[in-house]
């Protein structure tokens, strides 16, 4: 396959940035999207150009480090798929592909396609945990958990923190990310003691980071590689309201 790429290049936070066009030839349909970029970068290095910087690590769809807006869609058009798991067989020979970084004010560009997502860590710091120091836990079987609750908690807990939800949201909201963690912990008995204070602290932190509000457009869940359901946001709002009513 032969492709034309239009890629966002930005040397650093203070650079204005621009789209640059590259031709890539002899792409195998079995390549992953990132392997296709590897091939281009190898060429750029040898030619003395600056290769395209992008974040990636596990390349098996679980670490959450990779993420690009491909043809206008976070992680590309393939559903429930991270950028690293997207393969070239889903593109037509001769296609033109645009590649951009996540765009949201709380995710400033570091370089090219690399953005700073540390705002997510600060949301977790605000309360996305159960306060249980090592060594203080009772026997694991002392508190049974209904299977339905454990399964639903797991579904919310599969969030990989990639930030696609923010990139896709017209408001730049981090509601799906925050709600996933709140829901995971609020469905389990272990999460109950801190349930309301957690919801309040995390939502307040999310707001103070400059993420937008949720208006139920559902773009977040559509691009989410793990399919985190939209109703987690209802759970978050409910806990948040209760916390504020106290």
């Amino acid at each position: 396959m032969n492709l034309t790429l239009r890629v966002w290049r930005q040397s650093g936070p203070s650079d204005a940035g621009r789209m640059v066009t590259y031709k890539v030839e002899d792409v195998s349909p079995d390549m992953s999207f990132l392997e296709m970029l590897d091939v281009l970068n190898e060429r750029l290095i040898v030619e003395g150009d600056d290769p395209i910087a992008f974040d990636h690590d596990c390349r098996e769809g679980i670490c959450g480090m990779c993420g690009m807006v491909i043809n206008g869609v976070a992680h590309g058009e393939q559903r429930a798929t991270t950028t690293c798991q997207l393969h070239m067989r889903h593109f037509e020979d001769g296609a033109e592909i645009t590649i951009e970084p996540w765009r949201a004010a709380p995710f400033p560009v570091v370089k090219d396609l690399v953005v700073d997502r540390s705002a997510f860590d600060r949301i977790i710091q605000a309360g996305g945990f159960v306060s249980v120091p090592a060594g203080s836990a009772p026997d694991a079987h002392s508190v049974p958990v209904r299977k339905e609750d454990a399964d639903a908690a797991f579904d919310a807990a599969t969030c990989i923190g990639c930030g696609a939800c923010v990139a896709a949201c017209p408001n730049g909201s981090a509601s799906l990310f925050t709600a996933a963690k709140i829901t995971h912990l609020s469905l389990l008995p272990q999460g109950q003691p801190e349930r309301l204070s957690r919801a309040k602290a995390m939502v307040d932190q999310m707001d103070s980071e400059g993420f937008g509000g949720c208006t139920n457009t559902g773009e977040c869940t559509a691009v989410c590689p793990k399919g985190i359901p939209l109703d987690t946001i209802a759970q978050m709002n409910s806990d948040y309201l209760k916390a504020n009513a106290k």
Partner: protein, 641 residues
């Protein structure tokens, strides 16, 4: 490659007495640090995977002043996150005959009698606390309808002791550790440095006192001082270029500590995982593992005939060779990883492999689907099947999966004593980065167990014994300056070469060489060839590598070049270690040492020891042996027939 032999290591600091009392004894004997003193004691932790993340969080909870570093943009990305199958614990919730002793026994035997009994027993003891801790944190393990935890049998175990969270156990456990870590960051006990890479260890007055790191965004070289340093930087499987490791996994932190004086133990022990998706082309950047839980229901086979090009569905039952069931009737498809991997290699070497290049075997779910129904199979393995289809474009419900072994884990690592302290006082090494608990072969679902055992429970106790004598005062300026100069020199040298080949192209070539000559099967001849080729390729690297950009910016080519440079040196030591160990054991198979059936043949008379390598100068490395003694589990040849 030259080497010399130095004095044996005689004291591992494990207490004497009955094995089940040793950890209790050590805990009681460890000096305590006055709570008021803890916040005056600084500890650096490198890496935020299961071991490093849990250690940093726990040390923070105890009140130490912790600095944590990772190369990713957030600690939650560490590669522990990719572990799929599960975590072992001797809970015996099933009442199926499991016990601490049995987990200990299985792990010593599974490690092919090359691990320490004292360490392994402690691991089995602590395993039960890990599950309690994780559940209390809200880790959503799989549960049964009664609300209790579900378990499965996994990777060659005959009891059901593996706890799991669908195919994402590593993710859920890591997020538990990450959340505990973030809690400590918020509390101010842990200072987090993301996108920082450790490039050297500061050793002053015989103690590890800090690290030199590079800020990967600005390129700034920073010095961080402390009273103790903990390395939790993971394994070095990426020396093979293609492995199941994340792209960023590297040996730099442990290798540079090795250069500063930490012994490197059993570098040749690498684990080749039997169930990975085969290579599809030259551009391949990494390999993806399919959890070996798939072997519980999938049947492994190849065609009976060589070069059989028929589609799998067209090959009748009697022309299929379910070779694991045939050769190992009592364990069948559930034999340990090293055995399953080598068996796959053997049938492919016979010309009976399937898929492109004949480097693959089938993992077939047809019978499981007929027996249990498609829904039940989907419930158990749905996410794995999806992942397979995403990568290969083939649907495993209709066509058998194709799998092939790939480098997955490294049992070798920096040598540590019972306290997890290296040969440099004040340098502790935990998780995959050390060598301690898995011997020559790691059992499935034991990596998560070891990482968390080290980080939550073992290190926080043993490091206190060391720190009780601290704080250790000012650090000698000269030692810090020297370390910084070494780092800057290396970066300058890499940028100055300005050759024509990328770091990746060298890495790929080194990896191929290691896979061919120091991979699943090793011979004296292949290892000698590797020891000849590696220095040549390294010389070419230093003359012809091309690193674009500058040191004062985000420069992924420079990062990569530094890591590849260290992989060259490590590769050489791995081949030397593999050459000197002329027996076969666990994941290390020397073709010269096999029995009549082609099974690995250990040589306990000459090799029942740990090989701990001291970094050498002109005369090459120095080999120190630590004799292994088995008081409880009698040394026998493993048999899974």
């Amino acid at each position: 490659m030259k080497f010399t032999e130095g004095p044996e290591i005689r004291d591992t600091k494990a207490p004497e007495g009955p094995v089940e009392e040793r950890w209790e004894k050590r805990k009681f004997g460890a000096k305590l640090v006055n709570p008021a003193n803890k916040r005056k004691l600084n500890v650096i932790v490198i890496g935020t995977g299961l071991a490093g993340g849990s250690a940093a969080a726990t040390l923070g909870e105890l009140g130490y002043n912790v600095k944590s570093f990772c190369y990713q943009d957030t600690p939650r990305r560490a590669h522990s996150i990719a572990a799929q199958g599960g975590i072992n614990a001797a809970k015996n919730y099933r009442g199926d005959g499991d016990s601490i002793y049995r987990l200990f026994y299985d792990t010593v035997k599974g490690g092919d009698f090359r691990a320490r009994e004292s360490n392994v027993y402690r691991l089995a003891q602590v395993s039960v606390n890990i599950i309690d801790q994780a559940v209390a944190q809200g880790v959503p393990f799989a549960r049964e309808y009664g609300g209790l935890l579900d378990t499965r049998s996994f990777g060659g175990a005959q009891v059901s002791r593996t706890f799991y969270a669908r195919g994402q156990t590593g993710q859920q456990l890591l997020l538990g550790a990450y959340q505990a870590l973030e809690r400590q960051i918020a509390a101010g006990t842990v200072q987090m440095h993301t996108r920082h890479e450790m490039l050297d260890l500061i050793v002053a007055d015989g103690r590890a006192r800090g690290v030199i790191v590079r800020d990967m965004v600005t390129g700034e070289i920073e010095r961080h001082l402390a009273d103790a340093v903990v390395l939790a930087s993971g394994g070095y499987g990426n020396v093979f270029f293609l492995s199941t490791n994340a792209k960023g996994c590297n040996t730099t932190a442990i290798w540079r500590a090795h250069e500063r004086g930490a012994y490197f133990a059993n570098p040749c022990y690498t684990q080749i995982h039997p169930t990975c998706i085969p290579v599809s082309g030259e551009y391949q950047s990494k390999l993806t593992l399919m959890s070996e839980s798939l072997r519980n229901d999938g049947r492994v086979w190849v065609p009976l005939r060589k070069n059989d090009e028929r589609a799998p569905g067209d090959i009748p039952e009697e022309e299929r060779d379910y070779y694991l069931e045939r050769i190992y009737p009592s364990f069948g498809n559930l034999v340990p990883r090293d055995i399953a991997s080598r068996a796959a290699k053997n049938v492919c070497d016979e010309g009976r492999g399937v898929g492109p290049g004949g480097l693959g075997v089938y993992l077939d779910f047809r019978d499981a689907i007929n027996r249990l129904g498609r829904d039940a199979v989907e419930k158990k393995y749905g996410n794995l099947f999806e992942m397979y289809e995403r990568i290969t474009g083939e649907n495993p419900y209709d066509v058998p999966m194709r799998i092939y072994p790939a480098v997955h884990y490294t049992m070798g690592g920096l040598w540590v004593d019972y306290d997890l302290q290296s040969t440099i006082p004040g340098l502790f090494v935990i998780g995959e980065a050390n060598f301690s608990d898995h011997g020559a072969n790691r059992l499935g679902a034991s990596a998560l167990m070891q990482g968390l055992a080290d980080g939550y429970f073992v290190l926080p106790t043993t490091i206190g014994d060391y720190l009780a004598a601290g704080p250790f005062g000012d650090v000698d300026d000269e030692a810090v300056a020297q370390a910084e100069i070494r780092v800057r020199d290396k970066i300058d040298r890499l940028l100055a070469v300005n050759g024509t080949r990328t770091p990746d192209s060298f890495h790929r070539e080194l990896g191929k060489l290691m896979w061919d000559y120091c991979g699943m099967e090793r011979t004296e001849e292949s290892l000698r060839k590797a020891l000849e080729r590696i220095p040549e390729l390294r010389a070419e690297f230093w003359q012809n590598v091309k690193v674009s950009g500058t040191a004062e910016e985000l420069n992924q080519v420079l990062e990569k070049a530094g890591r590849v440079a260290d992989f060259f040196d490590l590769a050489e030591l791995m081949c030397l270690d593999a050459l000197v160990r002329s027996e076969s054991c666990g994941g290390h198979f020397r073709a010269e040492s096999q029995d009549a059936d082609g099974e690995a043949l250990r040589d306990d008379e000459h090799f029942a020891h740990v090989s701990a390598w001291e970094h050498g100068g002109e005369d090459g490395p120095v080999l120190h042996k630590e004799t292994l003694e088995y008081e409880y589990v009698k040394m026998t040849q493993r048999s899974y027939k």
